[in-house]
Amino acid sequence: MWKFILRRFLVMIPQLFLLSVIVFALAKQMPGDALTGVSMDPRISPERLYELREKAGLNDPWYEQYRRWISGIAQGDFGKSYTHKIPVSEVIAERIWNTVFLALITLILTYLLAIPMGIASGRFNDTWIDKVVTGYNYLGFATPIFIFALIMLFVFGFSLGWFPTGGSVDSKVDAGTFAYYLSKLHHVILPALSTALIATVGTVQYLRNEIIDNKYKDYARTARSKGIPETQIYTRHIFRNSLLPIAAFLGYEITGLVGGTVIIETIFSYPGVGQLFVSSIGLRDFSVVTAIVMMLGFATLLGTLLSDIILSVVDPRIRIE
């Protein structure tokens, strides 16, 4: 197993390198660079500009620039934001915890919804409860998150007014108090729930099929032949075997969430990284955009890594090589 994990880590290195090259190439393609603001200034002559560019290293060959850029990133230096006038790392740091918090709550809600639903409809397949869950799945599969989120915002945010329609925390409460955390939770519930209600569908479906598959497997029959009561067969054998692959999906789930944050944070005006990303593109603040793509790309790579590792840990067929 250790060999497997180590190898998996090693595989990530070229992936990370490739990711950074792509992001760097994209960044180079983006209109404007660190001196774009300056170049607009009519008082600066083209010769002076050239000099400045030379000094900033913008005329160096791309690999030289890449080397400088990547070593900066390795030290946490993503450059300076052109709209916020502060280092990009600081801009992102303000928002990142909001996003992590939102993602965490979403993840918890997703599994809280998925596991009971999947188990119920898999265990009692072809009964009314299964039909209800399957019906819900059909709807969930067919509903894009952004429409569902809009409707949720419209109903619970605007019409009923139960939840705030934007922001991550009430500006009137003091940081650090209990009311502050409560308010944070209050702000995060609606976006998290909107995502979870739709995102859970895939997991429910998978879990259901997995349970149905497992309950007709030969080993379940062996367990029955031992005289184990049916409920115990589920708890001891079938659920265990069906939930393990689900656990391994955790990482992929994170990957999916990263993409979802862009949409969900925009809709709920939630000040997280996703919203920052969209607004930065709008403002053409590309140093921020590059940094976010690089960071979230890293997060997705970590997510798939996590999944592979979990899978290797929980499945003895991989664990013992």
Partner: protein
Amino acid sequence: MVLLKIDDLKVHYPIRGGVFKTISDYIRAVDGVSFELKEGETYGLVGESGSGKSTIGKAILKLINMTSGRIVFNGQDLSKFSFGQMKPFRQDIQMIFQDPYSSLNPRKRVADIIAEPLRNYQCLTVGEEKKCVQNYLDKVGLNPDSMYKYPHEFSGGQRQRIGIARALTLKPKLIIADEPVSALDVSVQAQVLNFLQDLQKEFKLTYLFIGHDLGVIRHMCDKIGVMYRGRLVEEGISEEIYENPQHIYTKRLIAAIPELNPERRAQKTELRKKIAKEYEQLYPEYFDEHGRAYDLKSISNTHRVAMP
């Protein structure tokens, strides 16, 4: 006349291990096997699962890449050909597969299945092709009308016969039968075996018959090679192998054949006990320090045994 000569055939698969997936060792599926098939005879390769017997059959047809060795068919060395260059020779060497269910494409009609080789090698008119397909269906005892049906409309035995008809259409010289009856019930198995024998006479076929059922092998084969862990441990005509086995593994295998006469149970059990003991004691004499069987040595004109 020697039709097929296999010389020191090796099929090794790398085992990759460690962090960098470097090759740490090889699985020696077939590890230096040599034998000859004379025209018109049936050569049986027998062994337990994982002994490499099926691998040999597939390596001859380039379904599996061989590591080294020579396969000489009709004086032509096949081993140096690529998959594509093998095409002209595939007419002469055909294969019958083990699983009657998966060896026929479920989406094709019987006519298309049997005509597939014809379409690859011969340009026949629709009428000629139909006639040819019906002819071969008749040869394997199936109704010519069944050419318009799909494989799932047939039983296991019938499907296996369709597979045989398909192998026959190019009038091959050699047929490699890879466990052709092991998926079938006894009574159906008898039918297929009878057909194989009839067809051998009619088309002057040479069989390489691969199997694990010692009863079937004895029934079908003139000459038998016993395989163990990728090596031939003994080779000889049927009587030699069954009545006078020399290698300790062959002895054990023969002793394991179930006794059909219930009266002789006790005797058989005694014999097996004796052989099991012998096997343990004599193991180092018949296998080298790596558990590898020695090279074959002739002890008579036809009988060869792996001994140091």
